[in-house]
Amino acid sequence: MKEEQKMSKPILATTSLAGCFGCHMSILDIDERILQLIELVEFNKSPINDIKTFTKAVDIGIIEGGCCNSENVEILKYFRKNCKILISIGECAIMGGLPALRNGIPIEECIHEAYIGGPTVQLNKNHILPNDDELPMLLDRVYPCHEIVKIDYFLPGCPPQADLIWNALVALITGDPMKLPYEVIKFD
C-alpha cells in the first residue's frame, strides 16, 4: 500500500456484470462523502461517469455482479488486465447471487421459459429465440467472479452497505487498517 500512498490520486473504475446496479446505488449511498471520494480518487471507466474504455492504468477496479454470459467474462478479464486491485462487491459477484438461481436448471429450459413457455410470453407467436451474432452467449451456469479471474478483496452484502464500501476504499487508499464493525458485514 505504501506505493499507492505516494501516488497523487489513485484511479478507480467500476462495472456491473450480471448484477442489478444495486451495488452501484450503494456506492452512491455514501451520500455527501462522494465529495470526499472525488478528492481521494479519480474515476476512469465506470457507468457512473459513462467512460466506456480504460484510458489509463487503473489502481482499483470494483466489480458488481457475477458472470452469466460471454460479455461478462470478457469485461471481467478486461478489468483484470487493466486494474492493479480488483474488488468483488455484492453477493452476485461473490457467489453468483440471484442470477445463479438458474444454475440447477438446464439452459434450454431457461430459454424456453423466457421466450416460449413462460406465462408472460404473449408476443412471440413464431417462437423465435434470440440468435443474433451480436448477442453475448449465455454460459452453462452463472459463475462467481473469482472462479474466472483472481479477485483481491471481497465485500459481501446485497447490496454491500455504503459504510462497508467506504471503509474499504478509504483503508485501501490510505493504507490504514480497515474498520469492520459487526453491522457492516451482511449477506442480504
Binding site: 453468483g96 472462479e147 442480504d188
Partner: protein
C-alpha cells in the same frame, strides 16, 4: 464432596458440574463455543463439527464431550477459529444458500456464524447442487437447497403419538432430511411454527410467513450470535 470439576479453557480456570458437556460448561463460565446442530433439551450428536475444540492434541466436538477434572481445552486459538470458519464456509458452498432471497435471512444461525467469523467469501468453490423443494404440506415448505442435515427437526418435531415428522432419506452424498408426506399434510399450526423456529437455517419455512420482520429488526441484524467473548 462437591460435584464440581475444575478445567481450563485457553488457560482460563473454569468450574462446572461433573458430566456436563463442554459447550454448556464453557457457557456457564462466560466462554462461547459456537454450535449449529446442538440445541438445549436435545441429546447432542456432534453432527456439524462447528463446536470443535482441541483436547490433548485431538479435535473433539465440545457438544458431545463431557468435562473432566483437570481437562485442558483449546478453543479460541487461531487455527481452531479458522477450522470453524472453514466448516461454516463448507456448509455455504455445499448447499444453495441464497441469503438475499431467503425468508430466514437475519434469523439464520448459519448466516449469523458467517457474520461472527467475518466470512467475506468461502475459500472453497461453490458446488451449486441440484436439490428439490417440497411444498406439498399445506403449512410448511421443506427446501433441500438450504438443509445442513443437523437433525434438529427430526429430534424435536413430533406429533402427539411421538412420531417424527422428519426423517433421513437415502445415504451418503444423496442423504436428505425429508418431510413425511402424510404427517406433513396434517401438521398443526403450532408444530409448523416450531419446525421453522428450530431449523437453524431456512430449510423449513412456514407458508405465508416469509419476510415477516423488517431488515434491522431481525435477530442477528445488530447482535452477533452467542455471547461476547470475555
Amino acid at each position: 464432596m462437591s460435584n464440581l470439576v475444575k478445567f481450563k479453557i485457553d488457560g482460563t480456570e473454569c468450574m462446572a458440574e461433573k458430566g456436563s458437556y463442554i459447550v454448556d460448561a464453557a457457557l456457564e463460565n462466560g466462554i462461547y463455543i459456537p454450535t449449529l446442530c446442538n440445541m438445549p433439551g436435545v441429546k447432542p450428536k456432534g453432527a456439524c463439527r462447528v463446536c470443535s475444540v482441541r483436547i490433548n492434541g485431538r479435535l473433539m466436538t465440545s457438544c458431545t464431550t463431557p468435562v473432566s477434572d483437570g481437562m485442558e481445552i483449546e478453543s479460541n486459538s487461531a487455527d481452531i477459529l479458522d477450522l470453524r470458519k472453514a466448516i461454516i464456509e463448507l456448509m455455504f458452498v455445499s448447499g444453495n444458500h441464497f441469503c438475499p432471497s431467503c425468508e430466514k435471512s437475519g434469523n439464520c444461525e448459519l448466516q449469523a456464524l458467517g457474520y461472527r467469523y467475518k466470512m467475506m467469501v468461502p475459500r472453497f468453490l461453490y458446488d451449486f447442487p441440484v436439490r428439490k423443494v417440497d411444498a406439498s404440506s399445506p403449512k410448511i415448505i421443506k427446501d433441500q437447497n438450504r438443509c445442513i442435515q443437523c437433525k434438529r427437526c427430526i429430534k424435536t418435531i413430533k406429533d402427539e403419538q411421538g412420531r417424527s415428522l422428519f426423517a433421513f432419506h437415502k445415504r451418503g452424498h444423496d442423504l436428505e432430511v425429508i418431510l413425511d408426506q402424510d404427517l406433513g399434510k396434517k401438521i398443526t399450526e403450532e408444530l409448523a411454527d416450531l419446525a421453522m423456529k428450530n431449523c437453524p437455517v431456512g430449510s423449513i419455512i412456514k407458508k405465508e410467513k416469509g419476510f415477516e420482520q423488517a431488515i434491522g429488526r431481525r435477530m442477528y441484524d445488530h447482535q452477533p450470535i452467542g455471547i461476547e467473548d470475555k
